[in-house]
Amino acid sequence: MTDQAQLLPGTLDLLILRTVSLGPLHGYGILLRIGQISGNALLIEQGALYPGLFRLVRQGLLKASWGTSDNNRRAKFYELTAAGRKRLREETASWNRLATAIGSALAVQPEEV
């Protein structure tokens, strides 16, 4: 498990939004999906997911409703609201800007300065 990366602060929300944007999911499903789309490279403590979900619901970025899962169990499904979709677009753009900037800063060779 040592090749798994710790999440940077503030990136969990972005990940959740992105995951849910692909279709309604319950909490456990979100965890699985994050593992799947990051190639199991990101580690999220199972319990740490839920405060994030509640926070996003309170901010009006997600909405939740009870339904039945593939395992035929009761589960709470989350999906994006319009505000959530907008926030995802903005956060993605700003993350990409940051990543590019950091990436190019780190790629600088001594002779280029």
């Binding site: 456990y28 199972q46 319990g47 839920y50 509640f54 309170r58 395992n71 169990r73 709470k76």
Partner: protein, 884 residues
């Protein structure tokens, strides 16, 4: 909207906490189950899978707490935490808590009382349907509220703005419900009164306009609910019963609802009677005399869509018609509309001004209280700077600490407000049942309503935030490292700070209050010893109206003579005289008088508007009014002899230039009768103690019959024995004649009532202001001494004398006191000019008052600075220096 939504959400989450918890738990459990399903699929047994899933999930409770916080459910919980903490803090310093709560309770209570009075008497309309469209009528420049019945009929029938106009008048009447003749108060009203107001009966029915068919045609009464309750014990069978009014049968038609008690806010009649029966009630019928403006007040609902200004101009066109057609009786018929209830601007004006002034003072007191508590609280906050610094250092945000401080102050102010409100309700309950004038149906009905509660609540909240706001800057600028390192910051500024300014303002307010209450008290004392034009000592008053026992015309005169003669025959009685209206009592009569040469007796040609008294021959002797020239009346000044009058000095001066010219000269009364002046008496006080000299004319009752009698019985005998003797005497003459007996001094209480009330309320406010100043100065002095103890100790160690130490410690407090007092004294002198209108001879240019204020303020300063001074002097330098 957003704020409201979030608040609603937070409150909802608080109350739905258990439901939310269950929901959350379901969700977390579902998560564990799903994980266990996966683990089971990978080959674990179900029980082992579930166990493994729970372990992987981590700290279940912690996650739940974090979820709660994330869901926003913690705001109100943290408020409760703050509240619990605030309670603990306040319990730990009971001294501060008690002082703060008591100060606020007094200040908020005073505001609540004044506001409740203002609310009941001025802001709240009469309790009738559609009170917003109900208006009364005032006439002319003097805002006269009374009309003659004939004019009223024209106004009612010729205007196009009112749905209907009704008129009413208050009169005393003798009531006998079966062998118990007693005095009662009735409101004589026009037949359409109840219909015009739109009031529904509680029981039975009302009388209507159609019941009026000429004089004495409607012998009906409608009882007030209170009178029905008190005298008929809520007996529903009273409807249809016949009672005797002035010995004539009247039928009880019905009972009015409890909330409707007539159309004057503070006069509570016992029942209503149609005004067409005026002759039976008052003994005379003046309804057809257009020039006789008795006490008839007019009011009605405006038609929908008509503005008061339109209605007034409509009434004015009726007025023009009246002036043109009845030039002899109707001068200057212009009208304005006013809110009924306080009988217009005549009473409403001064009352509104006085109450507004009082409200302002009460507001100032609350402000002073807040300033006071603010500085006390700031002092406490800086004493707690170590605690605050520690909390800041441990990561608490400044806003969180401020919220805690505000929780404390608002808690204090709410408790204070509650206590104050409770006290004021108790006080007002007493005030509502109090009858300031024993013989008049006057009460001050003040029932605190939702308005009062809301105002008290808002004032409490506002004062909490106000005095909590004083130390905000101090907290925000706290540097935790400095404070923890060096202890509390002990810098005392040399400049005049905002806090000092607050204290100066507060002392000034206190000085204003002390000045005005001293001025009022002095004025009241002086007016008690001024010359009234009669001597109230050793005189009993027997008041009655002969109409109450059915007397009228010559019968009444005979009865008056018999009454006077038999009272005179009581052993120990020196003299007995009768007057129709007592001077300095409510309801004085006045009428225009004209010089002998005037032939056009219109109001504009009058030589004077003179107070008019109808007296028996021995009245001046009984009242001890000095006869300056000429003679008094005898019983021979009757209908068959020439008309005569006795006038006062002011009358003689106004009509004839001097007293010597007056004797033997003639003047004309309103009806044109030539009257000769046969005597001159000293000036007196007639309608109020604060009045300027007024002309007065006295007429003999045989020539000018009067049905009301105030019998003045002069005697040195003990009032109680005399009362018994008088009772038997009157009873023997006519057992059916209701009357009251009091000493003249008791009667005068009512004349002094307004100035007494003003003095009392100013006095109470003055004492409160003084208390606030004491706590303010005390707080400031004590704080500055405690902050500078070390400095004082060093000064003493270096050989400073006690006087110098005191100067250092308290000089500042006394300087502020001096500045504040001087400013307050000046303002108080200015404010006293207003007082002079209410309180007789209230003048601030009185050495006793000025001296009193200076003395009072110095005493306040001494009292407040005593304990801090003791503390400063008892400083032991060695102890202090060792403590370091």
């Amino acid at each position: 909207m957003k704020l409201l939504d979030s608040l609603r959400f937070r409150i909802a989450t608080l109350f739905q906490r258990s439901q939310m918890s269950a929901d959350m738990e379901d969700e977390l459990r579902s998560h564990v189950q799903h994980r266990a399903d996966d683990l089971e699929r990978s080959g674990l047994a179900r029980a082992a899978a579930e166990r493994q899933a729970r372990i992987e999930f981590g700290g279940y409770q912690r996650v739940k707490e974090e979820c709660h916080e994330a869901a926003g459910g913690t705001f109100l919980e943290s408020v409760f935490q703050d509240l619990r903490f605030a309670f603990r803090i306040l319990r730990k310093s009971p001294g501060f808590t008690v002082v703060a709560v008591a100060t606020l309770a007094l200040a908020i209570g005073a505001n609540a009382v004044v506001f409740a009075v203002l609310n009941s008497l001025i802001l709240r309309p009469l309790d009738v349907p559609q009170a917003q469209s109900l208006y009364g009528i005032e006439r002319g420049k003097d805002k006269d509220v009374t009309e003659s019945y004939a004019d009223y009929l024209d106004l009612r029938d010729r205007n196009r703005s009112f749905e209907d106009l009704a008129a009413y008048n208050v009169a005393p009447v003798g009531l006998d419900t079966g062998n118990n003749p007693s005095g009662a108060w009735t409101m004589e009203v026009t037949g359409n009164y109840f219909d015009a107001l739109g009031v529904q009966p509680y029981l039975g029915r009302y009388f209507h306009g159609a019941d009026e068919r000429g004089p004495n045609s409607a012998p009906y009464i409608v009882l007030t609910h209170a009178f029905w309750h008190a005298h008929f014990q809520d007996d529903r069978g009273v409807v249809g019963r016949v009672v005797q009014l002035n010995k004539r049968p009247f039928t009880i038609l019905g009972v009015a609802p409890p909330e409707f008690r007539g159309t004057i806010s503070f006069v509570f009649p016992d029942f209503w009677v149609p005004i067409v029966n005026q002759e039976q009630i008052e003994g005379t019928n003046v309804l057809n005399q257009r020039g006789h403006r008795g006490l008839l007040m007019v009011l009605g609902h405006l038609k929908a869509g008509v503005t008061p200004a339109q209605a007034a101009s409509d009434l004015n066109s009726v007025g023009t018609y009246l002036e043109r057609n009845y030039p002899k009786d109707d001068g200057q018929m212009t009208f304005t509309l006013m809110r009924p209830g306080l009988t217009g601007d005549w009473l409403g004006g001064p009352m509104r001004e006085f109450l507004t002034g009082l409200m302002l003072l009460a507001g100032l007191i609350l402000l002073a209280a807040c300033a006071n508590l603010g500085s006390l609280f700031a002092a406490r906050a800086s004493d707690r700077s170590r605690e605050i610094a520690l909390r800041l250092a441990l990561g608490s945000r400044p806003t969180r600490i401020l919220r805690q401080l505000f929780t404390e102050t608002v808690l204090i102010s709410l408790i204070g407000g509650l206590v104050g409100l409770w006290g004021s309700i108790m006080l007002l309950r007493g005030l509502s049942v109090w009858r300031p004038l024993p013989t008049a149906p006057i009460q001050i009905p003040i029932h605190p309503d939702a308005n009062v509660y809301v105002v008290a609540l808002l004032l409490s909240l506002a004062s909490g935030f106000l005095f909590g706001a004083v130390p905000v800057r101090q907290v925000l600028h706290t540097d935790p490292y400095q404070v923890i390192k060096s202890g509390s910051t002990g810098t005392v500024g040399r400049r005049m700070t905002a806090r000092d300014l607050l204290l100066v303002i507060q002392i000034a307010i206190c000085a204003v209050l002390v000045t005005s209450s001293l001025v009022a008290v002095r004025g009241l004392m002086r007016s008690l010893h001024s010359n009234f034009g009669f001597e109230p000592q050793n005189a009993m008053l027997v008041e009655t109206a002969l109409s109450m026992a059915g007397y009228s015309g010559d019968d009444a005169l005979t009865m008056q003579k018999r009454l006077i003669d038999s009272l005179r025959a009581i052993p120990g009685v020196q003299s007995v005289g009768s007057v129709d209206r007592l001077p300095l009592y409510y309801g004085a009569n006045d009428s225009y008088v004209f010089s002998d040469k005037t032939s056009d007796l219109g109001a504009s040609n009058a030589a004077a508007d003179a107070m008019t008294y109808k007296i028996s021959p021995a009245y001046f002797d009984a009242a001890r009014t000095t006869l300056l020239a000429g003679r008094t009346f005898t019983w021979h000044d009757d209908k068959n002899s020439p008309r005569v009058a006795i006038v006062n000095q002011e009358f003689a001066r106004k009509l004839f230039g001097s007293a010597t010219n007056a004797i033997g000269s003639y003047f004309k009364m309103r009806d044109g009768t030539r009257t000769q002046v046969v005597g001159i008496v000293e000036d007196g006080k007639y309608s109020g103690l604060a009045e300027a000299p007024q002309p007065a004319v006295f007429l003999p009752i045989p020539q000018s019959p009067a049905i009301d009698m105030g019998l003045v019985v002069r005697s040195n005998r003990d009032p109680q024995q005399l009362t018994a003797a008088i009772k038997t005497t009157v009873h023997n003459l006519d057992a059916g004649l209701p009357f009251t007996i009091r000493t003249w001094n008791q009667e005068l209480e009512s004349a002094l009532f307004p100035s007494r009330m003003a003095t009392l309320s100013l006095g109470v406010l003055g004492v409160m202001g003084a208390m606030l100043s004491i706590t303010g100065i005390f707080g400031m002095a004590a704080y500055s001494v405690s902050k500078r103890l070390k400095e004082l100790g060093i000064r003493m160690a270096l050989g400073a004398r006690p006087k110098e130490v005191l100067q250092t410690a308290l000089g500042r407090a006394f300087k502020l006191l001096a500045i504040g007092s001087a400013a307050g004294l000046l303002l108080g002198i200015l404010a006293s000019r207003v007082l002079a209108f209410i309180v007789y001879q209230a003048t601030p240019r009185d050495p006793l008052v000025l001296g009193g204020v200076v003395l009072a303020m110095s005493l306040l300063g001494l009292l407040a600075a005593w304990i801090p001074a003791q503390r400063a002097l008892s400083v032991d330098p060695m102890m202090l220096l060792r403590e370091e």
